[in-house]
Symmetry: C2
Subunit: 379 residues, 2 copies
Amino acid sequence: MPVFSKNFKLGLLGGGQLGRMMLQAAIDLDIHVKALDPDPNAPCAKIAPEFVCGSFLDFDTVYAFGQDCEVITIEIENVNLDALKKLQSEGKKVFPQPEVLELIQDKRIQKQFYRDHQLPTADFVLTDNADAVAANVDFLPAFNKLGRGGYDGKGVQRISSAEDVHLAFTEPSLLEKAVDFAKEIAVIVARNEQGECKTFPTVECVFHPVHNLVEYLFAPADVSEEISEKAKAIAIETAEKLGIVGLLAVELFLTKDGEVLINEVAPRTHNSGHHTIRANHTSQFEQHLRAVLGLPLGDTTAHSTAAMVNLLGEDGYSGDAQYEGMSDVLSVAGVYPFLYGKTTTKPFRKMGHVTVVENDLAKLKEKVDFVKNTLKVIA
Amino acid sequence: MPVFSKNFKLGLLGGGQLGRMMLQAAIDLDIHVKALDPDPNAPCAKIAPEFVCGSFLDFDTVYAFGQDCEVITIEIENVNLDALKKLQSEGKKVFPQPEVLELIQDKRIQKQFYRDHQLPTADFVLTDNADAVAANVDFLPAFNKLGRGGYDGKGVQRISSAEDVHLAFTEPSLLEKAVDFAKEIAVIVARNEQGECKTFPTVECVFHPVHNLVEYLFAPADVSEEISEKAKAIAIETAEKLGIVGLLAVELFLTKDGEVLINEVAPRTHNSGHHTIRANHTSQFEQHLRAVLGLPLGDTTAHSTAAMVNLLGEDGYSGDAQYEGMSDVLSVAGVYPFLYGKTTTKPFRKMGHVTVVENDLAKLKEKVDFVKNTLKVIA
């Protein structure tokens, strides 16, 4: 069935903010999207052309959900892969493919894949249990990463020296040499079924000079053309070696020696691409749709320099979300808040993001600071 | 009730394509929009957070619809004004204001307003019936325009000479001197409750050199800085004299003598601003929301040169819409189709539009031609 026909349906596992922004892009092309999420108040619930409340981790739910869809995609990678495999075996298009999701879901397999395919990544050893970590003290300082189940910083433990070994995970994990990096950069690459591959410009995570936390994302990355091209080449090579159809967000370390190493990848739209909605000709969300629907990929050129600030629930507040300072930030040229439609806030919950579009770098930094100091999610 | 709170609701009269693009913009700011349209398959029906099927011309329907809304706005001006006035008198915010809609709905009152307020417009006489038209043959060539009920070219009749007088409308109308114009240009201006006023860059309707029909819209207009500024000043003056809150699309004639004259205005988002979604930092849809919600207006600067082509139902086809050539046009950099989600096509029905973003003018024209020759809505 052609994509642009009345009965075509795209199934989307997950109804969070990434799905929400994908739905906005789908409206332009009039793609009928049906979303699945266990939360009846998920960010997609009210605006999806069709919304099913149910678990994307449950075999029966996912299998039934996919029955009337021509193509099935995701906005979260932790989904029931057996159901997706069965749907795929029965002729449904599932993009990204379940085999790719499976490989990426387990950080041990993911890291081994890089090694087997000569993709640059920090040195590591697989550690089946805490004893195996203890046996590798010569490898420290390192990060101990759980093979499965880690998310948003969970499942990662720094082991600086032998004294920290008691912190090691008891489950199968890996020990990755700590990289003395100069910058963290990222590239989003799209690949469609026809094998067409396109990257977005390389972006950079800017760290707070004192607190050493990611402060905001900056696009394009402040790196040499050579480094930027190297990062994009690695992203394309990774997407091609995985054979992924869809979007792949590749997070990379730029070491102090000018080496570019893969940190980890996400097989979907990503926080590091949110600015593309306002700063690039094609957004990552439209690009994802084009990729999984077998359409030609869009022009990823940036028309503006941009920064992206995450909008997190303020510490100390839980309950009905209220946004303090919206009018103040909206009065600044080039400041665009994106609210995810989550009714309830809690400390550090991702409630939205703000894209700042400004070609003057000093002003951009000023505007980012203003947004960070002014806009608060309270209850 | 603050705009960015859980129970805030924006009522939208009309659920067509203009409403659809407004809904997309509303998602960014998480504005809960409730739309009203008589067509259960209207472009907004599936994606509005709340959709009410009913007539926006019916007093009771509109009055009941507005009860739980904090602000009520429109995407079509032909709505029940008595209901809006009653809602306004009971404390609801109705933007644009019903009095402004009333003035604009009647072309006779609209023209008289320009004259009374020294706003430049083509000379005219009010004609109560066909006899009055006949009595003004010295005014020809002219356009006879119906006071009320005209839409999309209907209700307008060219009266070139005395021989055409039998074509004159019998209802109250006006006779407007035909303007020997060099170009048709347009400016969209936004005004919020606080009186802040911002224009988008002046755009131009490009006519086909042979067929003398509007071929595409081009932004920015190919006119001098002086003319562009004059057009924007007229737009702002008109918005301020009307006291409108919301968007005002001002269509203007640029005469061969360099005069800029108001042709007509629309108190809402407009076809001449669709390209702003992809070519300007703030789109007309977001700007409309900011204006009617009392928020600071966004930066209207264009980051790219653009053209907009309407996508009309192909002559000779009626029924379930099919889109021929989508993959071909999507393969061209900078070509962005917007489909309005109308399931049924008929000859010349507005089914979508295509924005072409391209800073090289020769290439822009080439891409426009390619789109026009390639993309077809058939059944």
